[in-house]
């Protein structure tokens, strides 16, 4: 009996010991908190990304933690206390890179060049995150301003294919604007674009894309941002004139989504917007009903390009595992190609384009390679807001284009670079 008790006790001790080892093994797993803005989770298949990463690294437990746009405002506060809720942050726009860098809250990404040569990245995307020779936002999710059009509406209007010049874009917009029931009120508008002011500031991006593709330049010869050039005013005037002519969707300056929704609903025939909006339109309308065309002149001159958001490496997180996640997921072929094929999100590393089948990727790659990007000034948000506010005033006829751009210049000339 006594032996049996001793045997049971020994077995118990052994079991506890083994369980201890097991649980020690579990607790030895390091956690990697992948902070991801809500819209990215689905469009970049983050569930699969984390699953694959965890399989590759049994000692790491990567977790997706979603955050909203509003939460981005709290990052500064949290990081200023040398704390972080995430080890890697995917989402906040690149304009935040400068404030984060200014406060020394984030680490540069220069280490990625050990495995991915610098010249494999599309140059504008790298430029977009460069501050004093260091890169503070990992380039990912490229976007180019392009033209998307409804093939059915274009055909109904007796037109063929996409417009090839800016004069043709205006002509198409006029011909495609229709009052289908002859009641004196327009039912289909020729053109829409997210010409939205603060806080979105998309009007800036659309005008910058138009400016570049028309052969203008966002920057003067000294590298200063230039809203006073003739070409800049001409680019903005293009939209002002179309609005005056009644061919531009009247509320496309209200919010980012008005134009794309109206396009899908058949109330707009052409959209000048991010190239990736094509895929969602094709999913809803059918693949032969919506096509993408480069902005006229953009294959030769470039357009405006930006990143769908920034990817940041908080100084106070699990930096080493975040670096592994960067190489194994964020710079992997499959992750970038999956988002490109399913949601039109542009890879930022040239070899990632190799497997992409759609014809337009060749043009987009060429355009992206020579496009301009936004300046990462310290006061970038104020600068974008100021230009956007004045541009919307010009669009709505509250100020002339010249007056609006002079005011924009006065507002931005003393901002910190």
């Amino acid at each position: 009996m006594r032996r049996r008790i001793k045997g049971l006790m020994l077995a118990g001790v052994l079991a506890v010991f083994l369980l201890g080892i097991e649980s020690a093994g579990i607790s030895a797993k390091r956690t990697l908190r992948v902070g991801t803005q809500a819209w990215i989770v689905k469009k970049y298949n983050m569930a699969e990304a984390v699953k694959r990463f965890n399989r590759m690294h049994p000692d790491i437990d990567a977790k997706i933690i979603e955050f909203t746009m509003e939460e981005i405002r709290r990052f500064m506060l949290k990081w200023s206390r040398e704390e972080t809720s995430y080890d890697i942050v995917i989402g906040p726009g690149v304009q935040f890179a400068r404030p984060y860098q200014e406060r020394n809250f984030i680490l540069p990404w220069n280490f990625v060049f050990e495995k991915v040569p610098k010249d494999e990245f599309l140059a504008p995307f790298l430029r977009l995150s460069e501050i004093s020779g260091k890169y503070y936002s990992l380039p990912w999710c490229g976007e180019v301003i392009a033209l998307i059009y409804r093939t059915d509406l274009v055909k109904d209007a007796g037109l063929t294919g996409a417009p090839k010049t800016w004069a043709e874009v205006a002509e198409y917009a006029k011909k495609l604007t229709m009052d289908t029931d002859n009641d004196g009120v327009v039912d289909i508008y020729g053109l829409a674009s997210p010409l939205v002011g603060p806080p979105s500031d998309k009007i800036d991006w659309v005008v910058w894309g138009t400016l570049e593709s028309k052969g203008g330049n966002l920057y003067d010869k000294d590298g200063n941002f230039n809203v006073k050039s003739e070409k800049y005013r001409e680019a903005l005037k293009f939209y002002v004139d179309l609005r005056k002519a009644g061919c531009l969707l009247p509320d496309c300056h209200v919010d980012d989504n008005v134009g794309r929704n109206a396009f899908k609903a058949g109330k707009v025939a052409m959209l000048i917007t991010w190239h990736s909006r094509l895929i969602e339109a094709q999913h809803i309308l059918g693949f032969d009903k919506a096509y993408l065309a480069p902005l006229p002149g953009s294959v030769e001159n470039g357009s405006f390009t930006t990143l769908g958001g920034g990817v940041y490496l908080p100084r106070f997180g699990n930096v080493e595992d975040a670096k592994k996640f960067t190489f194994d997921v964020l710079l992997s072929d499959w992750w970038n190609q999956w988002a490109a094929e399913n949601y039109g999100k542009m890879p930022t590393v040239k070899p990632h384009f190799a497997e992409l089948k759609e014809d337009y990727w060749d043009d987009l790659l060429k355009i992206a390679d020579i496009s301009s990007t936004m300046p990462l000034y310290i006061d970038a948000p104020k600068m974008f807001d100021s230009i956007a506010t004045e541009s919307v005033k010009a669009l709505l006829g509250e100020k002339s284009v010249d007056e609006a751009m002079d005011r924009a210049y006065d507002k931005i000339k003393d901002l910190r670079k």
Binding site: P198, D251, V254
Partner: protein, 280 residues
């Protein structure tokens, strides 16, 4: 348990004093080390800031139009639902709906309703009333955008104020009405000589609450227009928010907040003053 004073100090007095101090500095969250005491520097700068002047003007419009409109309308609704008419119990419950839906949701729903392209308001005007010419770009036209938001505020706040008025109406002794009826007083006379004078204290409560609400309106503007188009709906609160959390100009934003506080205090003081004078 913390002594009540400590709680009040930590959560009210300290933040108030600290933000007062901030309002007298050029505190920039991007460069906290360079923070300087500038006295009334921010106040002088505000006087020349066109965006601030616009925000102040829009807040003034909110006060001038929304403030009386919501008080009159809520009193009207309270009088309507206080009667013993069939179906009023359902009406009293239904009237709460705008209050119970989260504010941000209602703002998004109204934004959709106002949409020029696919909003139900323009569709109703066109397809039901056949008044296509009355279609407006409600949130896209600077002429209408602020007033469109104002309508949402009135819709949202009227039920809340109506409930306060309803409580006031129930507190009026029925015997007064009965005596007046025997004396042959009409409905309007009873309303003018009995109901309204006895609702004076309720008026003050509603007036003070609405003064605060109309100056600190934020969510509807932020969600529905973001202050646009072309700053046409920018109000003091959204402008303070933009300066604090987008431009990181905390000192400047604190000054704007203190100006809002001063406006609220002034209106509250006027209300209380009027009330006291009347009582004396």
């Amino acid at each position: 348990m913390l002594p009540p004073f400590l709680v009040i100090f930590i959560f009210l007095i300290y933040p108030l004093l600290h933000s007062l101090y901030l309002s007298l500095t050029d505190f920039d969250y991007l460069d906290p080390a360079a923070c300087r005491f500038i006295g009334l520097g921010n106040h002088f700068h505000l006087l020349m800031d066109e965006s601030f002047i616009a925000a102040l003007r829009h807040t003034g419009i909110m006060l001038a139009v929304y403030y009386p409109a919501v008080i009159i309308l809520s009193l009207f609704v309270a009088l309507l639902i206080s009667g013993r008419i069939k179906g009023m119990k359902i009406a009293r419950t239904a009237i709460f709906i705008p209050i119970v839906i989260p504010l941000s949701f209602t703002a998004i729903i109204w934004q959709w309703m106002y949409s020029n392209s696919y909003g139900v308001i323009n569709q109703f005007l066109t397809n039901v009333l056949h008044l296509k010419t009355l279609q407006r770009n409600w949130l896209g036209d600077p002429k209408y955008a602020l007033y469109s938001i104002l309508v949402v505020n009135i819709w949202r706040r009227t039920p809340f104020d109506a409930i306060i008025f309803l409580a006031g109406l129930y507190a009026v002794p029925q015997s007064l009405y009965e005596v007046a009826k025997i004396d042959g007083a009409s409905y309007w006379k009873r309303l003018w000589y009995i109901t309204l004078p006895l609702l004076k204290e309720t008026f003050i409560i509603v007036a003070v609450l609405e003064a605060i609400f109309s100056v600190k309106i934020f969510v509807q503007v932020y969600v529905m227009t973001g202050g646009g188009p072309a700053e046409s709906t920018e109000v003091l609160y959204t402008y303070a928010y933009r300066n604090a959390f987008r431009y990181y100009k905390m000192g400047y934003a604190a000054t704007i907040s203190y100006i809002m506080t001063a406006i609220i205090l002034l209106i509250t003081w006027v209300n209380i003053k009027v009330f006291k004078t009347e009582r004396q």
